[in-house]
Each structure stands twice: as structure tokens, then as C-alpha cells.
Amino acid sequence: MISDRTRTSLEREIRSNTVATIGVALLLSMLLMAVFAPVLAPHDPTDQDSSRNHQPPLFFGGEESETTRMIDGEIRTVTESNAGTLAHPLGTDSNGRDVLSRTIYGARTSIIVAFSAMAVSLVVGTTVGMVSGYYAGRTDSVLMRFVDIVLAFPALLITLAMIGILGNITVTVPDPLVASGLVSDRPTHAVIPVTITLAISSVVWVWIARVARGEAIAAKNEEYVMAARTMGMSNLGIIRKHVLPNSITPILVLATIQVASIIIIESSLSFLGFSGTTLSWGYDIAAGRDYLATSWWLSTVPGLFIVVTVVGINLLGDLLRDALDPGIQRGGL
């Protein structure tokens, strides 16, 4: 799929761009984290022990601090000291669950949603874009007006509306790493939030379709497509053999960049309480809001992981764009 020249320019880009390389490394580690969450997470992310709750991250806390408790119907101020421990390097939440483990598992949700939404969008968007751009004419007009309609709504609003329509659909699949017996004491099943995946796809395919259409139009006017037509190749054959392969690079670059948008939308939805699973970054950020004054790490840590992931994707996207396709435009939220 990638020609030698593309590969060399990519290699050169990677070599010459240390910042981007760091970004790619960050992203890769996030991916690894998501895939090997059961192995990497020190604890079961749902395992709770309220006696050790609100433990700060390692190297934080330790000094005496005042908290309020109600004891025998009286509100009393008590002095407590709570120091971070190695067992919970990023602290614990209000139910004593390990923040690090939850965040590692949260990466899973974000990445599963991002990748599956992008996969759905790529299939739908590329198909529509190819058909629209290649056949042009009335097919194109109608499809593109439909695209305009979807684009008239802010992405987040339409995603939310889709959630309202779809309700909360989730699919639970056994975690292969746990099933294989590699690790125990971890959740045996992973929850795939189908609703938000579909809801996000309902917007993202449009972004893909627009780019795919543009690429299809450009490719269609290339002389080699004309040549294929004069050779008697069928339209579908031309799309499959010429138009699609020559359009796919910019589409994939856009897709890479848009994965960042998807992760931000996904975390926004979870933040607003529409995640479908409680193991997600946005959900934990929202849960931590109530403890901002006392347990700052609850909202801070998952947010940092989002930023790191999205920075990684954006750097990778910039890198790909510079290496493969200097002309591509960034789509907005």
C-alpha cells in the first residue's frame, strides 16, 4: 500500500523530527497500555477498599490536614494524614480504587471507541465519498446536500442526539488476556460502548466522506483513470483499482488526525455522563470534580492521559501530513 518513496519520505520525516518522534512514542505507549491493560494495571480497576480512599499520588500528601466528618450527628473537623504509597502511585479515588489502574483501563475505552468509530466512519465515509465523487452529477448533489445537513449541526450536539435515539447499548466481550489465564483478579470482560461509537461515527463519516469525495474527484480527472475507462474497465473496477488506492493516503492521514477529535468527543461524552462504561477517562474526570478541593489528582490524572494521547496523535498526524500530503486541511470539531 505504501510505496518505497512514501516510505523513505516518512523515514526521513521521522528522523528529522524529534518532537514528532516523541509524539509517536507517546501514542504507541498509550496503545500498548490499552492493549495490555490487564497486565500493566497494578490493580483491578474496580477493586475498592473504602478504608484506603482518597490516597494522594506517590510523593504527595503526608502532612496533617483537616477534613470534615460527621460523627454521631455532629459535623466535626478531624485531622488526618494521608500519604501516597507505592502501591497506588497515582493515588486512589473516593472508593479506594487505584487511579493508575483505572486510567490504564480508561485508555482502553477511549482507544476502542476511537478505533471502532473510525473504522465505521472510514467504511461508510469512503464509500459515500467515492461514489459521490466518482459518479458526480445528481448522485453527488444529493449525497453532498445530505452531508451539508449533517455538517450544519455541531458534532457534539448531533452525537448527543444520536445517544438520545440509540439509548445505551453496550457489548461485553471477554478480555482475552484474562481469559487466557495470563492475569487473574482483573475484570474478565471488557465493555464496548456501542452507542457512543455509533453516535460518533454518525458525524465522523461525513468528514471522511468529504475528503474522500475530493480525492475521488481529483483521481477521477487523472488521465490514468481515463485510460482505464478507454481500456474498458468497469466503473466499480476503476474505483477499486485506481481511485481508491490513490485516494486512501490523504484519507488515512485525515483519519489519523480525526482520531484525536474522536478521543476528545468520547471523553466529552463520558464527562457528560453518557459513556456507557465507568472505566473511561471522561467519567473519572467528572467523578473527580466533586473532590477538586481535596483530591485534585482524581480529575487531573485522566485528563493528562487524554492530553498526552491527543498530543501524540496530533504529532503523528502532522508528521504524516508533512511526509505524505502537504495540502490536506484539518477538520474541526
Binding site: 510505496s3 448533489s141 487523472e222 488521465e223 481515463m226 485510460a227 478507454t230 481500456m231 474498458g232 490513490n246
Partner: protein, 450 residues
Amino acid sequence: MSNEPAPVPQDSPGRTAPDRGPSAPLLRVDGLQKHYVDDQGLADWLLSNDPGRVRAVDDVSFDLYRGETLGIVGESGCGKSTLARTILGLHEPTAGRVEFTGTDVHEQVATDRKRFARRAQIVFQDPSSCLDPRMTLREIVREPLDIHQVGAKSHRNETVADLVERVGLSTDHLERYASEFSGGQRQRIGIARALALDPELIVLDEPTSALDVSVQAQILTLLADLQAEFDLTYLFISHDLSVVRYLCDRVVVMYLGRVAELGPVDRVFEDPSHPYTRILLESTPGRGARAGDRKAATTDIPSPRNPPSGCRFHTRCPVVVPPETYGAAFERDAWPGILEYSRQVRAGRFDADALATLADRHGVDPEDEVALERAIRDRCSIPQPLTDEIAEDLLGASLAALVSGDTETALAMLEADFASPCAATAPPFVEVGSEHRAACLRACEQDGER
């Protein structure tokens, strides 16, 4: 778009030269039209943003015989590429028909493109666009074989190797991607691909215009060799007269979508009958030609979207036919001056400021209308007075209007009184010599005289 009927004599079999072998043309183009998509319905108007952009072709007819090379020359916007693609069935014609060995190409394409594809192929202009950059040399040349399932699969690679060697490329490079070849090499690949199906006709759409001269020469010689070897018929599209002259037997000169002149290359280029062909020849660099009366023709080409009425070349033509109302001497004495005068009026060269400057230059009082009129006549070299009295009166009225500042009236009068038949009538296509035809009123006159 004018649609007055113009007599279009057919290039009938009876007129073919004996050396052309079988009498039926390989390809016959008959009254072919391809227009802009302007007629959109309301739904389209609401739904879409821009109409398609196609260079128009209007009422083009010619025949192409087996084994010959027919050149199509013209400047940008003349519709030569549209013509080529319409002939190959890539565009649907608005009117007229294209016959390939007697059958309608567009019917054939609609039912079975493949069959037609095996007989007619195309080589494109742009070496950077004509090959799929994601395919290797082998894949590109093999593609037509695969589509048509030519021979056994195992044999196809051999066929590919033969073709590749035949066009002068090394079989060592079979696995290289298109982007790794130079422009000339890519054109060779394009030719190999076109040859793969062993077609009878190859349309060459400016195959060398993007190449450097040294490489162009390579391709031209290759094309000539291949034609001899494979008994090919070429439809060669170009804007370069030298190349056309080198490669072609006959040539069609096109201007703004219409055929201006058609005939054997030598005759057309040595004795052009259409003023446009003449201008084109004179403009060809490196022939030591110097500016003569072609100045008006060398500034601008009208938009093919909105072509001029009558003879489409009349706006640039140095030998526009004068109105018939005036005396015989009118053309020689007065007509060039009046043409120049009307051009300058149309170009706004006689607005108030310009008149003041003119007066100043001629040392006359800007208020003195008579002197000013004289100055204008001087500048346009209009004799004083014209020999034809009626013409003199009419011109005088226009000049008076101009000098009094009413440019529009002046122009309107000119257009009414000194309208050239060229602007009104599309010239018919007439025989000017053996197999040599041109669409020009002047040619008609000669025709009539003969």
C-alpha cells in the same frame, strides 16, 4: 450558440486518395457537438454548486482512414482534447455521431465498452497523471491484458515484457513504480499500455507537449516506428505545427470548437486557405517571420464559453470581408482603416481623455471637432474622404458622434453600417483544393470564382 445550418460536405469515400487502400474510413466523425452543461433543472440548481466544464466542440466532421495519421491542431480552448475524448466515448456527444468501421461508437460504448476498447486506445498528454503512481510498470502494462483476459495468465507477463522492450524500456525496471520513471519513460509506458490490446486506432492527445525537446524527439521517432510496425492509425492532437508536420499525413485545424481548415499537411501548411491557419503558421517561432498584419491576432483569444458570432475567427481576422454595399475599391482603400477604427473604438481608445491626448499630439484644438475627426482618421489611416460617398456619410456620422463624446452611438453606428458578413454568417466548408477544405468566406469567394 449559433445553429444556422452550414453546408458540411462529407469526406466521402469517393474522394479518398487511391493510396489509402480500403475505401471505407476507419473512423468517421459526423457533425459532432459537445456543449457545456448549461441546462440545469431546478433540482440541480438547488442541489449542486457548479456546472461541468468542458471545452465545446461544435459541428465537427472528418474521416480518418486506416494507416494514416491525422493531426488536429489548434490553440487552447479550440476543443481538440474534448473532441478526442468524445471520439473515444469518454464524453457523451450533444449531437452528431462518431462511427468506427461503420458502427456508432457511443452505442457500442454504452453496450460493450470492452469491444471498442480493443480497437481504439489513447495516449495522454500529462506524464505525471497518465500512470497510476501506485502501480508498477508491469501492473500498468498488464492491466489491459487482465481486463480483457488476453491470453493465458502466464503468458501475459511475456506479452508485457515484449511490449516494454518494444517501446524502448528495460525489462529490469518492470517492478518499478510509475513515479520512479522520467517523463519520457512514462510516455513510453503509456504507449506500451495503449499497444497492449493491439488496437487499430490510437488517439495521441498531445503526447509530447510536456516533454523536453530531446525527449520529444525520442517519442516522435518511436511513434513513427510503431506505426509502421503495427499498421496503426493515429489521431494526433497537438498545438505544435512542427510536430504535426513531421508526423501527420493530413491535418485538421480547429478554432474555438470548429474546424477551420482540413487537408493534407503539405497543402494546408504550404498554401493555407484560412487566415487562421496562416496566422498560426506565421506565429510559429523559429521561422524568421516578423510581424505583419497579424498584430490584431496576437493579443487575445476570445473565451470558448462565449464564442463570437458568425465566423468565430472574425474578431482576430486580418482579412475580414467588407460589407457588400460599398463600391469595389472600398475594400482596398477604406476597409482596413475602418476596421482599425472600429477596433479602437471598441477598445475604448477614443474616450474623452484619449481624445484630448490625441488633439494634443496633433496640435489641434480639442474643441475643433473637424480637426479632431481628421486626427482620428489619420491615426487609423482612413482616407479622406472615402471614395464611396454613402460610406463616407455613414463614417462621418459615427466620427461626429465619437468626437461629441458619445462613444456608444459611434460604435452602434459602425456596427450597423459597416457590419462584415463574417460577423453574421458562419462560413460554409468549401473545397479549396484536392481534399483540401476550409471554412472561410474568402475561400468561398475563390471557390465561386473557380
